[in-house]
């Protein structure tokens, strides 16, 4: 038996190595796999080498089969891994993506098996060590595939990482393991003293890859397939490793409000569907108990019904572990005060603007000190409370009606001009606005956003906990400000104004104000104590003037410019910290007060993104106005109103606005420089903005005019978008025409604006147009004939359908091959709704008057006739005209004439009788059957009619002996009998 199998295997392997169809060879190898691994595994040793030999086979299919063989062999006996590791490595670096992909899929199983086998095996020799080393390298390589250009490779890399996160962590009592994964490895199975596998290290690695995966899930450039795969992976991990439940739920929260902007409508719906599916599966999990409110809110947003949600709730007794809410409320009681203090300080300072910049930045710094001192040491957060939780809790108290209204108003400026697809698809009116639950949800949403953007209290706290756990306490003891949420922005501001602050007696009074506004909390006291301590240090050697070297003017200049730049660049941080208005005021004041250098910088800054920053320009103008009116004449009470500076500023701003650099021109330049993938993305996302701008936009026209080399496809796409729904405007046509004549001679460029060209132009480019590929030609005709356009967008084509067909006929053969022209006319003629017999009659009528008659004329006549047999009478008239025009002088026409006579028997007989004898004779030579018909026709005529026929004609008809070829003669035999019968 075994002998027998062995022989079969040898035979199969031999056949597989012969040249032959890949599919057949794959069949053989599969058969081998089955025989060895299912029938007689003892043969594996004998044949492993032979089978592995195929790993270098030319065919990717064969190589993939080998991978599946290896995988099954490893499953059967993990010791094989040591023998196949080199093959695996080779195949991982295969040239073919499909082979690579197959290998990674198999590596998911093999890596898991390896760990399990290693964890059990006591014997660790050199071979095993080096195998493990290779395995680790391959793992690193596969993880790096997350950044591959290939979508499929990224997808399988995600699955691989899912496996890593699972095997490199421990099962817990509440893990839900699918039966098929019951036997899988997990760190519980690893002994502490293993020779190669270090548990702590592996556990850390597991956490790291999980972080990587979560981060990947939230990245903004993800394809929908990758996103769906990643969501599946993290949901699987959460079910099997509930320790991650909180992080995973948060990731879904963040994801739902931050879907990648590259997804199209339908992808958004698919992704949302999967989020729903995954959340429902998480909801079922007992470990998600603490997150039920978040998950249910998300699900409701996703359109899940109450019934669906209830169906998926786990049946566990309510074992309440509400630590989170408890600690949340603790924080809440503290936070709101902070905010109020902050705002009230700012409001006050706003009234005396000349000093506001300095004052605020100082108090801001204190604010940040307070926030960190009041929270970080006092509340040691439970381990599972994360950045989003903290930030959300922090926000809940701040979401007063006033603040929310402000937020909404501020974000009005940032709204896109058109509603994004994803928003439109998912928006549902908020039913329970203003209820505590809804506020909490809003806080979580904002928390997720802030954390994703790397801001917010929770994020900062987590970061500082991670980075400087031991350091924090020391810092506080010394009373130094700790960078926290609010701190970032202000730290940037601080250096710029600190010099001034020290010089002026403003500081004590500001902090005094601050204190009186505040209830004396412990935080306030901390602040107090920090300032004197700093000042005392400086007071001791008090001779300030001695201590300070005068700064060089240039140096001073440089420093002030630098600090100004710092303020400019702190936009995002200030916005997030809610001190955007302070920044604006600071900048405006600085620009107004100081000399030119700031101005230019500021102007450049504003106009780098004028859409977003125009408010800065207005604020500046306003400030100038205020100065000009002398409202702020504290500095110089006798100052007269002086509008020159205001006027100057206004003029400069307006001028700048006019010569504002064309941003889409920039796009075109970028477009020429990027690779195909990005080009495609650009082309895809272009649609809405371009449509919004419309073809009246000066920028677009300018862009078309200045089309850079290599950006032709971009421009073509833009023009296409513009003309999709509306006829091209005159200006657009003008620009495109210009571009076509001067630079881009590709006629395709003209297609979108065809209907804007005049008739003469269209006719002149027709030969080029019809040479394009058939679908394009079709599109051209559709446009010219007004096909496929809805009634409201349809517009008069500059060329009538009849004129178009006539023009096609007149294309000289030297400009365009006859065959191409012929295909084009056929395309036209097939549009029966357009080319009715009336239109065709006009066309034919006009064509026959052209001299010489166009070559395709008779072809069109014949086609018209086959479409509309009723036209036969009309066609007879045309043939009549042809006779008078002596059509036999044009071979093609004459040929068609005869064919037409054949087709239109017996209508054509009277016509034939009008031909001159030599021509008639020729007709008979070409189409002998006409003679017979004509003969019959003659006989049906009355004597009188017959007598009108010239005898020369009759001779030609009756005399069939002379010029007729013998074989034709046979057909004419019955004629005499016919004649006799008549008599």
């Amino acid at each position: 038996m075994s002998e027998n199998i062995q022989e079969t295997i040898v035979e199969l392997i031999n056949q597989a190595s012969l040249y032959g169809k890949d599919s057949v060879r794959v069949q053989h190898l599969r058969h081998v796999q089955e025989l060895i691994l299912r029938k007689d595994p003892s043969l594996l040793d004998n044949f492993l080498e032979e089978v592995l030999g195929f790993q270098t086979d030319k065919s990717p299919e064969v190589r993939k089969t080998i991978i599946s063989f290896i995988e099954e062999a490893c499953q059967h006996d993990p010791e094989v891994i040591v023998k196949v590791i080199d093959s695996l490595r080779l195949l991982l670096y295969d040239d073919n993506v499909l082979v690579q992909k197959r290998l990674i899929v198999s590596m998911i199983t093999i890596y898991r098996l390896t760990l399990k086998w290693l964890s059990k095996s006591r014997l660790v020799d050199e071979n095993v060590r080096s195998m493990w080393e290779s395995m680790v390298n391959m793992k690193i390589h596969i993880i790096a595939m997350l950044d591959s250009d290939n979508d499929g490779l990224r997808t399988v890399a995600i699955k691989f990482i899912e496996m890593l996160a699972l095997v490199l962590s421990r099962r817990t009592s509440d893990s839900i393991i699918p039966t098929s994964n019951e036997q899988d490895f997990s760190l519980n199975l690893l002994q502490d003293d293993h020779r190669i596998l270090r548990r702590n290290k592996l556990e850390q690695e597991g956490k790291d890859v999980m972080e990587k995966l979560l981060e990947f899930t939230l990245s903004q450039h993800l394809s929908s397939v990758n996103l769906i795969a990643a969501m599946g992976a993290i949901a699987n991990i959460a079910r099997q490793r509930p320790d991650y439940m909180s992080r995973v739920v948060q990731t879904f929260e963040a994801l739902q409000v931050n879907l990648p902007p590259t997804l199209v409508d339908s992808q958004v719906s698919s992704v949302r569907k999967i989020i729903k599916l995954k959340l429902l599966s998480l909801l079922k999990h007992p470990a998600s108990f603490d997150f039920q409110p978040q998950i249910t809110t998300l699900l409701t947003d996703l359109g899940a019904t109450q019934a669906e949600v209830l169906k998926h709730l786990p049946k566990v007794p309510a074992e309440s572990k509400r630590k989170i809410t408890l600690s949340n409320s603790e924080i809440n009681t503290k936070k709101p005060k902070m905010t109020i203090d902050d705002t009230s300080i700012f409001d006050k300072d706003d009234s005396n603007s000349s000093i506001s910049g300095k004052g605020i930045s100082t108090s801001g710094t204190h604010g940040s000190t307070m926030s960190s001192t009041s929270t970080s040491p006092s509340s040691p957060y439970p381990q599972h409370q994360t950045a989003i939780d903290i930030t959300a809790a922090d926000l809940v108290g701040k979401l007063s009606i006033g603040n929310v209204v402000d937020l909404v108003l501020v974000s009005m400026f940032l709204l896109p001009e058109k509603m994004p697809a994803s928003f439109q698809a998912t928006y549902t009116p908020i039913a329970a606005a203003g209820t505590p639950a809804q506020i909490e949800h809003l806080a979580r949403l904002l928390g997720a956003q802030l954390t994703a953007a790397g801001y917010g209290k929770g994020y900062e706290l987590m970061k500082s906990q991670q980075q400087a756990k031991p350091k924090i306490d020391d810092d506080i003891d010394e009373g130094k400000p700790i960078a926290s949420i609010a701190g970032i922005g202000r730290d940037d501001l601080f250096p710029s104004s600190s010099a001034d602050v020290e010089g002026k007696p403003m500081l004590p009074s500001t902090s005094g104000n601050e204190l009186s506004d505040m209830p004396s909390t412990s935080a306030g006291i901390t602040t107090m104590s920090t300032i004197p301590s700093v000042q005392q240090k400086k007071m001791k050697p008090f001779k300030l003037a001695d201590a300070i070297k005068p700064i060089e003017y240039d140096e001073m200049q440089r420093m002030s410019t630098d600090s100004f730049y710092r303020i400019l660049h702190a936009e995002d941080v200030c916005e997030t910290a809610g001190v955007g208005h302070v920044r604006k005021k600071t900048m405006t004041s600085l620009v107004c007060l100081s000399e030119r250098s700031f101005r230019d910088i500021y102007e450049d800054y504003i106009f780098a993104d004028v859409r977003k920053r125009h408010d800065l320009a207005f604020a500046w103008l306003y400030q100038e106005f205020v100065y000009a009116n002398g409202y702020l004449s504290i500095l110089d009470p006798n100052k007269r109103k002086d509008f020159t500076k205001y006027d100057d500023t206004l003029c400069r701003l307006l001028e700048y606005l006019q010569e504002k650099p064309d941003q889409r021109d920039g796009l075109a330049t970028i477009y020429t420089a990027v690779n195909g993938d990005i080009k495609r993305v650009i082309l895809r996302v272009l649609e809405n903005p371009v449509r919004d701008m419309g073809m009246g936009s000066a920028e677009i026209l300018k862009l078309v005019e200045n089309c850079p080399k290599g950006a032709e496809t971009l421009i073509t796409r833009i023009i296409h978008i513009l003309t999709e729904k509306a006829p091209p405007s005159r200006e657009l046509v003008e620009k495109v025409r210009d571009l076509y004549h001067k630079r881009v001679s590709d006629v395709r460029f003209l297609i979108p604006v065809l209907t804007g060209l005049d008739k003469r132009e269209i006719i002149s480019v027709l030969p080029k147009l019809i040479k394009l590929s058939p679908p394009v030609v079709k599109e051209v005709f559709n446009r010219l004939l007004g096909l496929n356009s809805s009634p409201e967008t349809s517009h008069a084509s500059p060329i009538l359908s009849s004129e178009l067909l006539i023009a096609l006929h007149q294309i000289p053969s030297e400009e365009c091959e006859l065959k191409t022209t012929m295909n084009a006319t056929t395309l036209c003629l097939n549009e029966r709704s357009i080319y009715t017999h009336d239109v065709l009659a006009i066309v034919i009528q006009q064509l026959v008057d052209i001299s010489p008659i166009p070559v395709l004329f008779m072809r069109t006549v014949l086609q018209a006739l086959s479409f509309y047999p009723k036209m036969v009478g009309f066609v007879m008239n045309i043939l009549q005209r042809l006779i008078t025009k002596q059509a036999w002088k044009q071979a093609r026409i004459w040929e068609g004439f005869i064919k037409c006579c054949q087709k239109t028997r017996p209508h054509s007989f009277p016509l034939l009788l009008q031909l001159p004898p030599p021509q008639l004779k020729h007709v008979f030579q070409t189409a002998p059957e006409l003679r017979e018909g004509l003969m019959r026709h003659l006989h049906s005529m009355s004597i009188g009619q017959r007598s009108l026929i010239p005898s020369s004609i009759l001779t030609v008809i009756e005399d069939n002996s002379e010029n007729v070829a013998p074989e034709i003669r046979i057909q004419t035999v019955p004629i005499p009998s016919l004649t006799s019968h008549e008599q």
Binding site: D151, G152, V156, S270, K273, L277
Partner: protein, 167 residues
């Protein structure tokens, strides 16, 4: 016929065929042979079921396989699964997610809504066939599928749901 390897499945609890009125469909279990359904309907009302094309369909089906198959009961693995209704897409996704995973091979699930009557089904069949052929033609489906679907969507003006799952 067009060179694609295709199998078709139902996903519900029973097989439902149109009856004399909307409220009275003919219901069979999944293990009823087509032959039986054909004869049953033929005896019930031959002219009605000839006219609405149901008999024709059953006749075709009985020549292809013995009886309908239920997706959830099949363990065959595919590269692509087409569904013709969002509800079925959901059922398929859920079923795939709840299966025992072993091989980690990718399967694409794609939904295009097709109205369930003979005319629309024929139209839908052509569309799916065209899409299938496009997918077959590409060398690396996982990498090209996004593009194929986006293009198809804009061409046919239909919304496509697309997700991946793993065996």
């Amino acid at each position: 016929k067009r060179g694609l390897l295709v199998r078709s499945y139902g996903s519900g609890q029973q097989v439902k065929l149109p009856g004399p009125s909307l409220e009275k469909p003919n219901v069979y279990t999944f293990d009823t042979p087509y032959e039986f359904m054909y004869k049953d309907l033929y005896n019930k009302d031959a002219s009605l079921y000839t006219q609405n094309g149901v008999l024709h369909m059953l006749d075709r089906n009985r020549r292809i396989k013995e009886k309908p198959e239920r997706f959830q009961d099949s363990r065959e693995r595919f590269d692509v699964i087409f569904t013709v209704e969002e509800r079925i897409f959901d059922q398929v996704m859920e079923d795939l997610e709840n299966r025992d995973k072993r091989t980690n091979e990718i399967v694409h699930v794609i939904n295009i809504d097709v109205i369930d009557n003979p005319e629309d089904a024929t139209l839908g069949a052509f569309m799916l066939c065209e899409l299938g052929q496009k997918m077959e033609a590409t060398n690396d489906l996982d990498n090209a599928i996004d593009e194929i679907l986006t293009e198809f969507e804009s061409k046919t003006k239909r919304t496509i749901l697309h997700a991946v799952s793993f065996y």
